[in-house]
């Protein structure tokens, strides 16, 4: 008995230690953060700016090639904002395009643009920026197999330098989202002579740009250290070194911020927000994103799902309930993310489970043997969304089987063509439109080889294909908005594809920090960030 008591006492002691030292997660003690997208102003009197700033990201880059994003790593794009400059920058608040390496620009006609470059920009290796470098950057991007699809509108043969500081950019066809592309991370300008000299290693380990920071150290899987470019043509950052650390575990990122070991972190997850908000020195920021949960229903192989079944499936989804269940207050039930260029397209999702049941009853669906094979990527939020959607489909009488695959496995479904696609009823993935223009989402509908809703291939959707092509060519914002609104409304009405929710981006910082803001593409340009001692 005595031994048992001692044993129990020991167990109790261990429990008390862990429970007592745990986090306070009482939801009643914290206020919702709403959409505070930027840090509060700081009274910097008698304060000095920190010379070394450390920010945490969830994954490291494979390299720094701005055209390809080094395999799409978000951290590579984010670093490219500091290492490279672009012809123009997009104001994160107004969406206006502001001069950067190009002092001014002019649209000669729908397929010809002239850019006048500034005369005082130098690359990190001391070479002066010339129009030839800009031409080289675009021609390289347009001919690089890993980037060509994004730059296919550029005519590499007729794009030329008119003089030392004037570039004439020639397009194969008019393209309304051109400035979004040029101001995005892929629009970075690289030095011709240096890139040719260094070869393939340029993009991986020796990036050189005209940006305000230059690469000091890359410790694979751990951190990238940048140092200030003292010869920068524009306003220099307040810090001398910028370290981007890579921590894959969300709880660890939160603890790093809470302890003040780092100055800020991107990719804060919902379950750590309460604890972070309870800390008086931590600011939690959140804002709308360019990320969307994409649901595709198989219309390419008509024998898989009929029009009625697909329409019923979309009508059965309560996007508001789904967003609340998965993201709480940190997400928006938007058919198309309103943060994207063109703003809120004003498309309402039609949620009508009763009508869905009627459609299904009138369809040829076999309720006894029919199974919805639902393929989803295995990320946390997509897995949660797929569970909720599957339950909603079950409610209207469908039998659903979820297949969880990693992103490579997901792509493999589409690479397999008919042999694999005919076994897929629906699929779900999380996507981010990095340059924030809705045109690139629309382009995916027919441009991607792997989408099963290849509009081009589906005969009776030819009118949608026409809308996609026409909308891409428009420069007038109001015209584009109208066409995209029509496109996405039709996609939903015909039961082809829908975007269910747009999660918010959440970040946190420690101490007196200014200029740390939530960017919709999760790649804030932190050159204006200041951390006060």
């Amino acid at each position: 008995m005595k031994k048992l008591s001692l044993f129990m006492a020991f167990i109790m002691m261990i429990s008390v230690v862990f429970v007592g030292c745990g986090r306070s997660t009482d939801p009643g003690t914290t206020e919702p953060i709403g959409s505070t997208t930027e840090t509060k102003p700081v009274d910097s009197t008698n304060k000095t700016a920190k010379e070394a700033v450390t920010i945490v990201h969830r994954a490291g880059p494979n390299g720094f090639d701005p055209n390809t994003g080094a395999g799409g790593a978000m951290s590579a794009y984010m670093l490219s904002y500091l290492i490279f400059d672009r012809l123009m920058e997009k104001d994160p608040e107004t969406g206006e395009f502001l001069p950067s390496l190009a002092e001014s620009w002019e649209r000669i006609d729908d397929t010809t643009f002239q850019f006048k470059l500034r005369d005082d920009a130098y690359f990190h290796n001391g070479e002066k920026l010339t129009a030839a470098d800009v031409v080289y950057s675009f021609v390289t991007a347009a001919t690089n197999p890993a980037a060509a699809s994004s730059f296919k509108m550029i005519d590499p043969e007729n794009t030329k330098a008119l003089d030392e500081t004037t570039v004439e950019l020639k397009l194969n066809y008019s393209f309304g989202a051109l400035f979004s592309l040029l101001s995005g991370p892929r629009g970075s300008i690289i030095p011709e002579a240096y890139t040719e000299e260094v070869g393939a290693d340029y993009a991986t380990v020796h990036p050189v740009g005209t940006g305000c920071m230059k690469l000091d150290e890359l410790v694979t899987g751990d951190r990238v250290v940048l140092s200030r470019n003292e010869d920068y043509w524009g306003e220099k950052p307040s810090y001398k070194t910028f370290t981007l650390r890579f921590i894959s575990e969300a709880s660890t990122r939160a603890v790093e911020v809470e302890t003040g070991s780092v100055d800020g972190s991107l990719y804060i997850e919902g379950n750590t927000i309460d604890a972070l908000q309870a800390s008086p020195k931590v600011q939690v920021l959140s804002g709308p994103s360019y990320t969307y949960i994409q649901l595709q229903l198989n219309c390419l192989y008509q024998d898989q799902l009929s029009d009625e079944v697909r329409q019923a499936m979309l009508m059965a989804i309560d996007t508001k309930a789904l967003t609340k269940a998965v993201y709480g207050e940190y997400g928006a039930a938007e058919v198309v993310p309103s943060a994207l260029t063109c703003g809120d397209l004003g498309i309402e999702h039609v949620y009508n489970p009763e009508k869905a049941k009627e459609l299904l009853a009138a369809s040829d669906w076999d309720f006894e043997k029919g199974v919805i094979d639902f393929y989803c990527t295995n990320t946390v939020d997509v897995a949660a969304c797929s569970e909720v959607v599957a339950n909603m489909w079950t409610q209207i009488g469908l039998t659903v089987k979820i297949h969880s695959v990693d992103s490579a496995g997901w792509s493999a479904l589409y690479e397999g063509g008919e042999s694999t696609l005919k076994n897929v009823s629906a699929s779900m993935i999380s996507n981010t439109c990095t340059n924030g223009d809705v045109a690139f989402i629309a382009a995916n509908l027919h441009g991607y080889t792997y989408t099963m809703n290849n509009i081009e291939a589906v005969g009776d959707q030819a009118d949608l294909y026409q809308i996609i092509n026409e909308s891409a060519t428009l420069y007038e914002e109001s015209e584009r908005t109208a066409m995209y609104a029509e496109l996405f409304t039709e996609l939903q009405a015909r039961g082809i594809e829908m975007y269910l929710a747009s999660p918010h981006n959440i970040q946190a910082c420690y101490g007196d920090v200014e200029g740390f803001y939530v960017a919709p593409n999760n790649m804030p340009d932190l050159s204006g960030m200041t951390v006060w001692e």
């Binding site: 986090r23 994954a59 197999p145």
Partner: protein
């Protein structure tokens, strides 16, 4: 002994051939095209074909495997699909972290586990035995992931004694080492206890006690040496598994090691990287096994004499 060692090292060759071939087949059959991952889904078929040829992925499986073997024999594991840099460079940049974590963890687990196991066996059914069993049970039951986060909350966040993550100095290694050690130590404790309990009931121990030997001498000179073989086996296996299995710990404490590298490589279908990491792990695992076998001879004169007379196999059966 040398002959035996050489034979064991030569046996590594078929083991590696088998392991790499199996892995090569599995990677090739796994869904997901590396070319598609590198170029993006909307690359043109022509561009994909060029890259596929460049990476050798257009060749038959057996040809690719033989090429891999030939290059591996020259120490060339190829270029990473992710950044086109030599695979070996990235592995050697991370391997020291993994080795350091595995070594410190094994040392710490042994330092805790062996004395606890001895005390537990010597004082069987006492309070100390119960505490020792409870600790080892706790260590075995607590998920590494949970324990790592709890330790981080207590010692980094609440007490502020240690940094939460990273590998920038000795203080950064304390939490990861303790986390993995507690799990490993529980195995060592239980094995030490059961092995010691087998020995303490032997006649020669009773004889030593009857001859008036002190308890300390009996434990250190008679009981422990005779109980060491299973303990060495467990410690060796813990070291080997920590080399490839501390992935959770590496992930939570943001240690750039082989485990996280391999996971990233698998997700990216980075075949050269996965193969190189696997070969490295298999080699180290096998070398540890050989080293453990040789240690048997060091601690047990019976085995040593059998090595000398070339009858190792028979003795191993007897020992088992």
């Amino acid at each position: 002994m040398l002959k035996y060692t050489m034979r064991r090292i030569l046996l590594l060759i078929p083991v590696l051939l088998g392991a790499t071939f199996l892995l090569f087949c599995m990677l090739s059959l796994a869904p997901g095209d590396p070319v598609n991952i590198i170029l993006g889904a909307d690359a043109t078929p022509e561009a994909a074909a060029v890259l596929r040829a460049e990476l050798g992925l257009d060749q038959p499986l057996l040809t690719r495997y033989l090429d891999f073997l030939v290059n591996m024999c020259h120490g060339d594991f190829g270029l990473s699909y992710s950044n086109r840099q030599p695979v070996a460079d990235e592995i050697w940049a991370r391997f020291p972290n993994t080795i350091l974590l595995a070594t410190l963890t094994t040392l710490f687990a042994s330092v805790i586990g062996i004395p606890l196991g001895i005390i537990s066996a010597v004082k069987q059914y006492s309070v100390w035995d119960n505490i020792s069993i409870s600790i080892s049970l706790l260590g075995a039951s607590m998920p590494t992931f949970w324990l790592a986060l709890m330790l981080m909350l207590v010692f980094s966040l609440n007490l502020g004694w240690l940094p939460p993550s990273g590998s920038y100095g000795p203080e950064y290694w304390i939490l990861p080492v303790v986390t993995v050690s507690l799990t490993s130590a529980s195995s060592v404790t239980r094995m030490t206890r059961s092995s010691m309990l087998d020995v303490v009931r032997q006649d020669y121990i009773r004889t030593a006690r009857a001859k008036g030997q002190t308890e300390q001498k009996i434990i250190l000179n008679h009981e422990l040496p005779n109980a060491l073989i299973p303990i060495i086996t467990v410690v060796g296996m813990q070291f080997a598994s920590n080399l490839g299995g501390a992935i959770m710990c590496e992930s939570v404490f943001a240690i750039p090691g082989i485990g996280t590298l391999m996971i990233t490589a698998i997700n990216a279908r980075n075949h050269p990287m996965v193969l190189a990491c696997s070969v490295l792990t298999a080699v180290v695992f096998s070398l540890v096994a050989i080293f453990v076998d040789l240690l048997y001879a060091f601690v047990d004169p019976r085995i040593r004499s059998q090595y000398a007379s070339g009858k190792r196999r028979t003795v191993r059966k007897e020992v088992a």
